[in-house]
Amino acid sequence: MSQSEATISTGTLSLPENQDSQRSASPAPTLIQGTEPGASQDEAMFVHAQSYEDLTGEEEGAVPGSPGVEGAVESSSMEQISEDFSKLSTKLSSSDQETQNSEVRTDLGRRESIRSTGQEENEEGGLRALEAWYNHQKHVFVLSEAGKPIYSRYHSEEALSSISGVMMALVSFLETEKNAIRSIHADAYKVVFVRRSPLVLVSVSHTRQSEQEIAQELLYVYYQILSLLTGTQLHHLFQQRPSYDLRRLLSGSERITDSLLDLMDIDPSFLLGAVRCLPIVSGARDASSSCLQQAKAKSLVFSILMSRNQLISLVRRKEHYLHHIDLHLLFNLVTSSSSFKEGEAWTPVCLPKFNSSGFFHAHISYLSHDPELCLLLISTDREDFFTVSDCKRRIVERMEKRGCWGSLREALRSPFYSVAQVDIPELRHFLYKSKSSGLFTCPAMDVPYDTDEERRRLLALYQYLHSKAHCSSHHLTTIYHMGTNENILTWVTDAFELYVCFSPLATKSIATTGVSRLLRWIRKEEDRLFILSSPTY
């Protein structure tokens, strides 16, 4: 596959016409944050996370106002090192890396031997299963610091015990030198380590993702575990018994984590660090928001209306902001389980980015099954079920009275718009993120991206370009990627992030004018594609 990349100057992307209005129809690259298409018109809905670097660079437990649970547990230098994880240099020192590489090669060698034995004894089903296990694209493991396995994406207990031993050996080998292992690069494999005491998270993958992106995914898994247990409980357990077997407490939750990892493979929300909105006429969105807004209760912090990982509206308590990671975890919790489909669920859930020390209680109920429409009411008071349940009743009543259902149902029936609506020659797909609102939009993946394989390939390409644009050593604002199957223009500014996929027949000039037209289209449609206001109770 012949590919070439060229960094083109941002100048060619600016538009001829000069617009004076604050919300210009087509944003120039110098556009300041908060005026880009999709930017919130009042306050933002989410905790402000400008970019991917903010997320990977952040320190854990740095929630203002919440007690620093993590810090109190272990103040060793290791803790410090793991907190500064992303600030450390990308590569280990060369001598260290050689050691690591050789260790991994031994492991790969072992796999080769297993593979050949597997061929000799074809009837040996167990070995074939093991081989299939080794062939997965991305493994994710969670271990305790004592080396006990806690989670493995593809399960397989027998392979796990020896592997977790090797992994812990690698981690502690470097720790004795007051150093931290971040990653191992061997052949096409990347082994990425994330240390969040008392847990160690490891990914072994052969994808095109950058180390940073994989580390970010591992952090999501860490937050997923926190959302089930709270940071306080997690630390308490391991403080009491370092050899604690966490699998007992997490039993039944593997599916949620599995689903999160699967979702990260196909949903660009995680890559962009943004929330996808359901496109809906703004009148209908405002109407449903106001229904949520009016059903308030003392203990309610957030009211969220969603459908299949897409946000419809979110109402929050005035002084509180939801973090998009917390919202992603909530979305995944709802979609990964059919247990919420009947009745009204009342479940403890920790929103780790909001406050990792305690549980909220989430009232989860489906307002409609076909099309799917789910209501989440997040309360601070676990005794408040009936009050919150009453809020739900009031929301449903009001939605009926105001006649919200018709337009909602229509929007839910077509959750993705076709790229043909944009009417730009050679345009196939795009991702557009408004940085100030933390929301993004993208059209349906139509032909030729209508197969699972092609979808994954396109997303992998986006991931690759994302990592190029956000590479810690040299940021790129524009990348023009030419491949045999498609050309992709990437444009990252202070205000937005844009990935536009054209057919391979598109030229650079078609792409440049296409992008300008696309931005104008997004501006024109912004009140349908984005949530422009951030209502509070």
Binding site: E342, E344, T347, D381, E383, F386
Partner: protein
């Protein structure tokens, strides 16, 4: 100002995967869903109105998660319950051990709660009696000791399911008149100064 009027709070307890959700599903929706096991997350609430001696009565059923993760906060689900259906899997001896744990818990914290011990998945025994791991008479002896009602159900066939909930409702009607005042409201852990008191369950 509760959204639903609930007369009897009923809580489902028991080890994970014994079939608490299936039991509720069978009773409320008259169906049995085949397919992969889905564990309950937290707890689910469902209200069902039924008739006992010509009078309508609403059961508020709390279907709790069996996972140990939620054990510490299970009290919020069974607090003030008038009836607890403690389930075990007839083909799993360890699940009966968990019954004893829950009964203990209820006896300590909810003395007014009537206990119903329910052996599930009885359809599995129809073809193969040897699958039974919990002896009926052992359960009966235990139940007599703690003054509990015993039954064996199958959510798949529906055997004894409606009867169980009917019994819960009848017992409530029959014994309620003799019962003393309801328990005091639990301590509000968040120490919110609510001007209005919301009670979990009232009659």
């Amino acid at each position: 100002m509760s959204g639903q009027r609930v007369d009897v709070k009923v809580v489902m307890l028991g080890k994970e995967s014994v079939g608490k959700t299936s039991l509720v599903e069978r009773y409320v929706h008259h169906r049995f869903l085949q397919g992969p096991y889905q564990n309950t997350i937290g707890a689910a609430f469902v209200a069902k109105t039924m008739y006992v001696e010509g009078r309508s009565l609403t059961l508020g059923i709390w279907d709790t998660a069996g996972s140990e993760r939620y054990e510490a906060m299970s009290r919020i689900y069974y607090r003030g319950a008038k009836a607890a259906i403690v389930c075990y899997d007839l083909t799993d001896a360890s699940s009966f051990e968990r019954v004893k744990f829950w009964v203990n818990e209820l006896q300590n914290f909810e003395e007014h709660c009537r206990i119903y011990i329910c052996g599930t998945k009885s359809d599995l025994l129809e073809n193969d009696k040897s699958l039974r791991q919990v002896d009926f008479h052992d359960v009966q002896d235990y139940a007599e000791e703690i003054k509990a009602h015993v039954c064996e159900t199958s959510s798949k066939t529906g055997q004894s399911v409606d009867e169980l909930f009917q019994k819960v409702a009848e017992d409530y009607v029959n014994f309620n008149s003799m019962q003393g005042p309801t328990e005091a409201k639990g301590v509000d852990l968040n120490q919110k100064q609510n001007s209005t008191l919301y009670s979990c369950c009232h009659h």
